[in-house]
Symmetry: C2
Subunit: 332 residues, 2 copies
């Protein structure tokens, strides 16, 4: 019998259709391993072909926008938003609009074209997380902006237009719909129980163990109970934290579990395309008791994302408990 | 300057990024025109290869599950849900679940493998709409079920696994998330104003005319103000109707505008892949003053649907007003 499961965080129901159950090998798509060759604007030596750098970690005595960097943040060359201008909020009858003021940046995670977040030395993953943190910290000073959405499209299928590993940041004058939904549900839960919803989920998942993908001292990786897609995995801090931030002044443990999870996915699904997004509290409500930041990783394995778009209703052919087991047993 | 627009029905914000503005020719993907050849379980003569028919429009003196039909509804051979069994609603700590009881049916819209909803004689579109209506009317008698979601995946990119034109119905013991969201927003609007939100939208759109794609006496096709995707188009009844139903005891005018809209899309975008979904009131609240049924058509033109999945946040490179103009000016 298939099962309908409700994701308590988003409020969304999902069909877990075990009769259509599939093993990882049913999902294999062209591997996202890197090839060299061809011009790449993100490779060292081509710094002049991107907008100027906003932030870089680079060797002493090297100039901005020249080689010598290990991590580089630049404006997106084709930005969806513009940083200059007024919000000019207005209505037109039943409709509401705001000028498209915001930031659209690209985080180039390593100079090495052949590496990815799962294969690069751990330091690059740590530095990427620092870059996220520094850019959020800077952008939140801008009173026009309410949220910085950080995401990664890995592989062409997942929306990446350039192969060289990178993530993106979009800073917005509004809070994205899904984050707002998660915050609303979390707030209602807190109002009813005086406890954080995701803290309760984590405690329950640690007790049962069956959807745990991995953990270390500070973080846990889980297959969500009502996963939308096969091998969807969330990475979360074990203690309550409302906003993305370093732990003990570093990102070592977070980098470790994030990279381990990506390695597990690579192993089980042969380097699949994926998206990840960081869900954290909005700028104006950074410290709160009810919302719990996390990273959602969604491998892009199925084509059947058709009507899901328009209905908010998902059919997942893989039991999250089985996906978690495959991931745990992966020899990485 | 890009613009952020809020869709009042879903409550979702969208970036309309005009700087990235694209013309229809920028979106051309492999045309979805049909080819003959190869085995097709939906073609006449192969009726025995599908589950038995639930409903068919067929010539007198022909037997079920043999040729002679013009429209045929069968159970999905790989159903996401099962029609037999109890709901067995239960909780497990913070999690909620329900047995996957429901229906998953396929509506084969014409016996002719080479036709589509945009090219077939209008009668086939009318009959398809009647099939939707009859199946919903039948399934709503089942007290376990709350909603019938009707959708179409046209083209492999949009999720169709068989080329022969068909739509699908999934009947569920819950209301899909997006429909629930739309109903909640519509109810709040009605509580504040004593008017239907979508009625107000339609009146405003008729006044301005700039996002009107087409209309006839009873129905209108619109590019939504905050379209998620280029050339997204909604078809709606002009007068208030909370549930999908015939008008003057027929579907002639609805079939006409639906087919005309699909022809316009085919002309402007060279027979693109698309999804459509019917959003109508749930079984238990069929007649109400606040929700307005409609069909949402989403051409699948862009690959950048990566993080949109996880954030509920969309970037649309085409101004809805321009999409509507291209559609209006299409010579069909």
């Amino acid at each position: 019998m298939p099962e309908l499961r409700k994701d308590p965080v988003s409020g969304r129901w999902v069909i877990i259709s075990v009769e259509r159950g599939k093993r990882p090998s049913d999902f294999l798509s062209p591997s996202q391993k890197r090839k060299s060759g061809g011009f790449c604007p993100f490779c060292p030596g081509n710094e002049h072909t991107t907008p100027p750098e906003i932030l870089a970690f680079r060797n002493a005595n090297t100039l901005p926008n020249t080689p010598g960097w290990t991590m580089r943040v630049v404006a997106n060359k084709f930005p969806a938003l513009q940083i200059h201008g007024d919000l000019n909020k207005k209505g037109e009858g039943v409709f509401d609009m705001i000028n498209g003021v915001g930031a659209h940046e690209v985080i180039i995670e390593t100079p090495d074209h052949l590496q990815s977040l799962s294969t690069a030395p751990l330091k690059f993953v740590e530095d990427t997380l620092w870059a996220f943190f520094f850019r959020i910290s800077d952008l939140k000073k801008d009173a026009r902006l309410k949220y910085a959405l950080i995401f990664k499209n890995e592989g062409e299928v997942a929306g990446a237009s350039l192969e060289h590993t990178h993530s993106q940041l979009i800073a917005l004058p509004i809070v994205p719909h899904r984050v707002k939904e998660e915050m609303d549900n979390s707030r209602r839960y807190y109002d009813a129980k005086e406890r954080c919803l995701i803290c309760d989920i984590i405690n329950q998942e640690i007790d049962s163990g069956k959807r745990v993908v991995g953990e270390n001292d500070y973080y846990i990786a889980l297959a969500p109970f009502a996963a939308r897609d096969p091998f969807e995995t969330w990475v979360l801090p074990k203690r309550h934290e409302s906003s993305f931030s370093p732990r003990d002044k570093n990102f070592t443990q977070l980098a470790e579990i994030l990279q381990r999870t990506l390695k597990q996915l690579d192993k089980v699904l042969d380097t699949p395309p994926y998206n990840f997004m960081l869900h954290t509290s909005p700028f104006k409500d950074e410290q709160n008791d009810y919302y719990h930041w996390h990273i959602e990783i969604l491998p892009r394995l199925t084509k059947r994302a058709g009507f899901e778009w328009g209905s908010g209703f998902y059919i997942n052919p893989t039991l999250p408990e089985e996906a978690a087991r495959f991931m745990r047993e992966a020899k990485i």
